[in-house]
Amino acid sequence: MSKKNPEYDFKWCPGCGDFGVRRSIESAMINRLEETGLPMENNVVVAGIGCSGNLVHLLEGAQPYGFHGIHGRTLPVAMGVKMARPELNVLVVAGDGDFLSIGGEHIAPQAARNLNICAVIMDNGVYGLTKGQSSPTTKLGEITSSTPYGKMEAEADPLELYLTMGVSFIAAGFSGKPRELTQLITQGMNHEGFAMVHVQSPCTTYNDTFEMLKGNPKKGIEPLIWDVPEDHDKSDKMAAYALLQRRGLPLGVIYEDADRPSLDARMEEMRGRARQRTMQETLDSYEL
């Protein structure tokens, strides 16, 4: 929206990973539009608070609906939208601080419900918008503006966390590979259930991990990222755990359980079983 709007003055820093994520989300939504014939207005992007949440204002071209609400609460808002209107395509965009720290309590219940949405998490290992404090994915011992003597907690492992909480689709992406990321987001949106696409999206200002992720042969830096092997059985939870034990960061679909019914499906099934009474019948049941 922002292109037409001089009032909106927020900008990502040059080189920010979130640019790549935005492009991937735009492409995935346009592909979906072409595939389904449904209008762009059929998409709702629920955004968290932080650099990444501003993505909802920075999308270019045809505009989806957006919801830019409260820090940490993207998932239950998305739940309300999706439960109310299952025909909508609901996307969550949030950062590691919003999603894993203040919003961490909402992941397990949505995984248990198998809420039929796709959440794209932009992980930069730092709180960017508040200028460089430590986040759940900041490394142990790291010095940041809020950890002058080093971070005291262990670094969270989001992918393992999602797996343990029972998320039914888990993919890992990198903002520097937008074409692949588009594919993962498309797969996540098509998944009938709770899809997590966890993206490494480096912060060039406070935690620039580009080189570390991609590697640099000249400096002798081995890349951290590697592609999930083609023979990985993504329906096998133990194989997914095994994959996550290997050094570095796998990119691709880590785990997918395509058989579990989504919350929408369960709601429909329950509607079929629940007692149906009109307002008048309900009122009459109280008559003396």
């Binding site: 909106y8 003055d9 957006g66 239950p76 739940m79 309300g80 209107r85 219940p109 509607r271 003396l288």
Partner: protein
């Protein structure tokens, strides 16, 4: 002596059938043409713990639970010890002689409740033994009660006849056993069957039913006393085509869930009590800021923090009116009776849709659990308002202008960002002073749409007025009626609409020398709000966890009117 009404209190352990006895008595009485109102407090535990419920039975509509107990039914010794002081001088105490023996109280007699029930061959007829005993004490003709039993248990099932026989026998045993005691509390006036249809309903059910009548489509909630029964009602009555009700993981999920549903176009609601309401603060601010219609019910209990979970209080008014940080002031409807719970819920939805924002519907513990017979609502007379929805093709800005504007819904043209940050017309974040001024004024200006005309007013020429709020209405109105009989010069005003107040009402209140506000909190929250709006208001406060007694209000109001008149004369 003919009595217009009587109060019976059932006291014992949780799980002894204390509540079912009171509600059974109320059911029986209303079936034969009396009016009934129950009042209950529960222990915060599943089984055991002292609990009591009382029913007030009258030949005319009832306003309050009643000050004094005419008959105490004590299921155990502890119940007798705890409640005997509240039995009026000429009252009677029935004690369960299957549980304990009592000597030296001439007002009491033992009733072997379970034993008598057992002798009929139906141990579940224990309630009927007690109802029979009560009927004798107030000289209620047995034919009424026999009819009630016939009607209630004629369900076309094979065992009906036997159940009817044993229940009638149980009532007869209770009656004859009581007759032997020689005790009585008087003759209850004969019932006058109302000439209109009635329903018998609990406050929280009436509120839920009202929400349903208003078209609620989406409900999520989290269990918390005394609001849980609304969640349960919705789960039993709202799951269907385009509708759903669901228990979520926290009150934060509740408020954000209905934010999502309200944004997506549904009439959405949640209900909670104090602690849950506190967790909803941030979400309520967002609903105000992003202009999303929704209804939040606060069933007040004693606070702060966990407070008194099973007692009544009216101490959340300030929290409900100003729940969030920043410049907000929530529309508030506070219901005062079971009937108002039904109509107030409808109004709350109408308000939310009309001004496109959050509405707080306040009720309280004493109303939530109150069972009462009320006139059956006529659904054809109910006005339901719908949201103004954007129907155009595109190029529309959701937050355009300084007034309420059509709301685009996902799936249709008009895409925007519902934004909790200050925003421009299309919902993008902005920091411009001119925008913050425009949008702040827009949000407050919309409250004008909620200014209602109607309010209760009586004897308005007096310069001293009585104006309570919420669940204290019944006791205050009963006190007012007594004051009028004694020619105490006082006017009556009342409204469910606490914010915004009906403008004509506010105008009248400002002209009064004194507005007396009975309310169940320490600070005098409503009188403080009235004073801030230029009304000379003073509270009568009480913070016992119990409702006002009519007697206390009559005494205090009389004193306040006398003092004020002396001051006026002295000046």
């Amino acid at each position: 002596m003919e009595m217009k009404d009587f109060v019976v209190r059932f006291a014992g352990e949780g799980g002894q059938g204390v509540v079912t006895s009171a509600e059974g008595m109320a059911q029986a009485a209303t079936q034969v043409g009396y009016h009934a109102l129950t009042y209950a407090t529960f222990p915060s535990q599943i089984l055991g713990g002292p609990t009591w419920t009382q029913a007030r039975i009258s030949d005319s509509p009832i306003l309050s639970p009643g000050d004094d107990v005419d008959v105490l039914v004590a299921f155990n010794r502890e119940a007798y010890d705890n409640h005997v002081d509240e039995v009026r001088e000429k009252g009677v105490i029935i004690y369960n002689s299957n549980d304990f023996e009592l000597e030296g109280d001439p007002r009491s007699f033992g009733l072997p409740i379970e034993e008598l029930a057992k002798s009929t061959g139906n141990t579940r007829a224990a309630n009927m033994v007690v109802i029979g005993a009560l009927a004798h004490l107030v000289n209620m003709p047995q034919t009424y009660l026999d009819e009630f039993v016939q009607k209630r248990f004629s369900r076309g099932r094979p065992g009906d006849e036997e159940i009817i026989r044993s229940n009638i026998q149980a009532m007869g045993l209770g009656r004859s056993h009581t007759a032997e005691s020689g005790l009585s509390v008087g003759d209850l006036a004969p019932p006058r069957m109302p000439d209109y249809k009635q329903i018998m309903i609990k406050g929280n059910d009436a509120l839920s039913l009202g929400a349903r009548a208003a078209g609620v489509e989406f409900y999520v909630g989290y269990p918390i006393s005394p609001a849980t029964t609304i969640l349960l009602w919705m789960e039993h009555n709202l799951i269907g085509e385009g509708k759903f009700a669901y228990q979520v993981s926290s009150e934060i999920e509740s408020i954000t869930g209905i934010l999502g549903a309200g944004f997506a176009g549904k009439k959405a609601m949640t209900a909670t009590a104090g602690p849950g309401f506190s967790l909803m603060s941030e979400g309520l601010g967002l609903a105000w800021m992003a202009e999303i219609p929704l209804v939040v019910v606060d069933v007040q209990r004693g606070g702060p923090a966990t407070g008194l979970p099973t007692k009544t209080e009216q101490s959340d008014l300030l929290a409900c009116m100003y729940p969030a940080h920043g410049d907000v002031k929530m529309p508030i409807i506070a219901v005062g009776t079971v009937e108002e719970a039904f109509y107030g819920a409808i109004k709350a939805f109408n308000w939310a849709e009309r001004y496109q924002g959050p509405v707080i519907l306040m009720t309280e513990m004493s109303l939530a659990e109150r069972v009462q017979n009320i006139p059956k609502p006529d659904l054809s007379q109910i006005e339901v308002e719908e949201r103004q929805v954007y129907q155009g093709k595109n190029g529309y800005h959701r937050y355009h202008g300084s007034e309420v504007s059509p709301m685009p819904l996902p799936g249709s043209p008009g895409a925007y960002v519902a934004n909790g940050s200050e925003h421009d017309e299309m919902g993008d974040t902005t920091h411009l002073a001119s925008r913050h001024i425009q949008m702040t004024e827009r949000r407050f200006g919309k409250l004008k749409l909620l200014e209602e005309d109607e309010f209760e007013a009586d004897n308005t020429q007096e310069s001293i007025a009585l104006m309570t709020w919420g669940g204290s209405k019944g006791s205050a109105l009963e006190a007012y009626n007594q004051l009028r009989q004694r020619d105490v010069p006082v006017a009556w005003y009342y409204t469910m609409f606490l914010n915004p107040l009906p403008p004509r009402l506010l105008e009248e209140l400002r002209k009064k020398e004194l507005v007396i506000v009975p309310e169940l909190n320490y600070q005098g929250q409503f009188s403080g709000i009235l004073r801030s709006q230029g009304v000379k208001a003073e509270s009568i406060t009480q913070y016992t966890g119990l409702p006002f007694k009519v007697r206390d209000l009559v005494q205090k109001i009389t004193e306040m009117t006398k003092t004020r008149r002396k001051e006026t004369v002295g000046a």
